[in-house]
Structures are given as C-alpha cells and as structure tokens.
Amino acid sequence: MINKMKVVVPALSKNEGFCRSLVAAFCVELSPTIEEVNDIKTAVSEAVTNAIVHGYEGQNGDIVIEAELYNDSVKISVTDFGQGIENIDEAMQPFFTTKPEEERSGMGFTVMQTFMNDIDVVSEKGKGTTVTMTKYFGRVNART
C-alpha cells in the first residue's frame, strides 16, 4: 500500500459530488486516464447513493468512505450502518430494485460491476452494508 484515506460524511445527497471527487483526487498520483477517473467517480456515486437511499432511506446516519492506493490499483469501500440487504445475489441482478416507484433503474450494482474490476458486498440485516470495489489502472477490459 502506498497511501490510504478515510472520510466520514452524513448521509446527505449533496455529499455525493464531494465523495466522488475526493476519491478521484486521491487516485491522481497513479496518473489514471480520464476514463478510469470517470469510472471510479461513477462507481463511488452509485455506492454512496445506495447508502443514502436504501441503507438509511433518507434518515440520518454516517457513511464511511475508505480508500487504499496500491502501485497498480485502488481499493475503495463505502459503508453504511443502515438497514442492510436481504438477499445480496438478488440485489446485484440487473434491473432489480426495491424502489421502482422512484424511477430507480436497478442498474447501480451493474454499473459498479462494469466500471470497476472487482466488487464485494457484505451486508447484515439491520446492521448495514459495505461495498468494496477495486480498480486496476492500465487495464483495457473491466469485468462485464
């Protein structure tokens, strides 16, 4: 590991832009391409949105964003202490959403999977959720 960071923000949607820009800035020393930076920003935005919308459902709570920088990659985790995910496999299916009435697409996890190289979700009902994602720099193909 060559660097690490941790930030805690309240679960407010106005913090999404701040969080994704912060993580993108943290990766700059690895000279990522514009596409790689955008992939990271997009994935962080998806995870933070899910923490706010699904984890806390608009209630107060903290979101913890941690990142570890390696020579060839960044590992990012987004944690909430909200309601947790009932069935992770089902939640990660394309188009699966528990909030279709809000025009949610159910594509957040698909975006995270496509834009990052690796994703791992740990969740416990009533305790919260941690999404950990890794992006390798200089690789042509993201996992699809």
């Binding site: 999404e16 596409e35 920003k41 997009t42 949105t49 809000e102 697409s105 957040g108 975006v111 496509t114």
Partner: protein
C-alpha cells in the same frame, strides 16, 4: 442543475448543465415534467453537452421522461452525450430504447 429550453420547429430543445445525480434528480424530474405538461411539441431534444457527470439515478430521470413522453405520443432524442454519460447509458441499456441524435 441549470435547465434552459427553447422551442424550435416542432421540437422542444432542453439544455441541461451540471451533474445529474441523486442530489438534483427530483428537481430535474419536476422541471422536465413541467416543460412536458406546459408546452406542445412533438419531440423533446435533450441536449446533454453541459452534463459532465451522470449516474444510474440520472439515467432513471431520462428514462422516466422517455416513458412519460411516449405515453403522450411524443418523442425523446438525446444530443451531445459526453463519454462518461454515454458509458452509463450504454451500460444501463438506455440505447435499446432511446435514440441518440448526433
């Protein structure tokens, strides 16, 4: 999010500026719905030149407007989609439904 618009021929051209995520999704949806309900036009052209970031929540706003317009027998076209937005749209399968106009 700033939204400008102009009627041009039979179309309503709408120009969005900003980052389209959860923090502005409801307001953007309401403003676009207002334009759809207020003006008569045959197609909405959504110009995204000024949108430098959008995630699946933003995609949902666009898809939702497409569905609303279709119910009314009107069209939706996308214009000036930047690379980040394009990748989100493609990943979400939006182009299977909504046409891109270059």
């Amino acid at each position: 999010m700033t939204i400008n618009f102009k009627l041009r021929g039979n179309n309503l051209e709408v120009f969005l500026f900003g980052e389209l995520d959860e923090s502005v999704a409801v307001k953007t949806r309401e403003t676009l719905n207002y334009l759809i309900d207020t003006y008569s036009f045959s197609a909405m052209v959504l110009d995204l030149k000024g949108v430098n970031f959008l995630d699946s929540t933003g995609m949902g706003v666009v898809l939702g407007r497409y569905k609303k317009l279709r119910r009314l027998g009107r069209g939706l076209f996308l214009r000036n989609v930047n690379a980040q937005v394009d990748k989100v749209f493609a990943t979400c399968g939006l182009y299977d439904i909504v046409e891109k106009q270059y």
